[in-house]
Symmetry: C2
Subunit: 219 residues, 2 copies
Amino acid sequence: MTESSRIKNPDGVRADARRNRERVLVAARAVFAERGIDAPMATVARRAGVGVATLYRHFPTRDALVRGAFTQQMETCARTLTEALADPDPWRGFQRLVETVCALQREERGFPAAFVAAFPDSTVEHAPSRERAERDLMTLVRRAQATGALRADFHPTDLAVALVAHCGLVSALPEDGAASRRLIAYLLQSFRADAANGPLPPPTSLSLHSFPLEASSRR
Amino acid sequence: MTESSRIKNPDGVRADARRNRERVLVAARAVFAERGIDAPMATVARRAGVGVATLYRHFPTRDALVRGAFTQQMETCARTLTEALADPDPWRGFQRLVETVCALQREERGFPAAFVAAFPDSTVEHAPSRERAERDLMTLVRRAQATGALRADFHPTDLAVALVAHCGLVSALPEDGAASRRLIAYLLQSFRADAANGPLPPPTSLSLHSFPLEASSRR
């Protein structure tokens, strides 16, 4: 398509842009799954069959590309958090949240890498929805503690610790669903107040900011 | 050194070979820490300043190179297992074993990658010492269960699951000692019989063969 035909046909341009965007996202998921989230942006562009400039026009940063690639997974996480808050049994809501995020980590090979990669680089791009997600998680934790199900010394960052560890497990042993389920069962039992059999060392100061629990702002 | 001087001076040849071997090991630890255990052997050779042929003469397989690079860490694991077996309190021995392996995973940046990489490729090269390590671990687990400290449904492969997960955590968050210690504390508490508050899903069929608990055969 020439530059003049683009100008004459704005619908065609938009359709073209949409197709390119979709091809970039498919390529990104494949490349992230194979080579991790640090794979060069140029590799994603090459796989998608688009120029690097086109890729950057759609996704100006790696963070934007990662979020674009895993929008659906992040929406599921966000929805599960909302449902957990609505559950009359906050422990059951909490448990489902952990199980759902872990199931996504098992199912979508690139998602675990994206998940962990999100931690070090806390961007403020989507600050409002992140802050809400963090607040919602704190509320859920407090409620589950108030019912006496979740141990009192559980810290919200412990959820991040558990999920990053689970992520490492499924990355190392992608075919081993039994290992994943076994780890989740142990961790959930250890979070129960009736399992607490000793003090814990201090919690990490790990930020929850990049936690993929907020709804993606890109639709 | 020319070929004729090598022949005339066998001690010099041996000293030369020892130096090259040591340079390869230092390079391997650095490369594994930076790029993971899958880094090309040629990269290790280049970093060491030796030819690829020289590297392969010392370490014919990647497994041999990994084991060579982390001999000291593997010796520590093996010694801790022996000490755990000798401990009159088998739970304390078990707990120390977990904490020691995890501390090694935190301290030596390349070791976690080596540790996980060992799992998929179970080689039979060191079969006798591996079988002994596996037998020792089973003995320790049975004894800790017999005292009533370790839960009866704990399976020896759960230790592998816990260590691979911890490994993923320290790889993702290498500076976060608090996260590591917190995860270990939760897992150890969940392994206690007095914490068991529900059934567990079936254990993984993950092999323990490549578990770095046997003494290295290379001294």
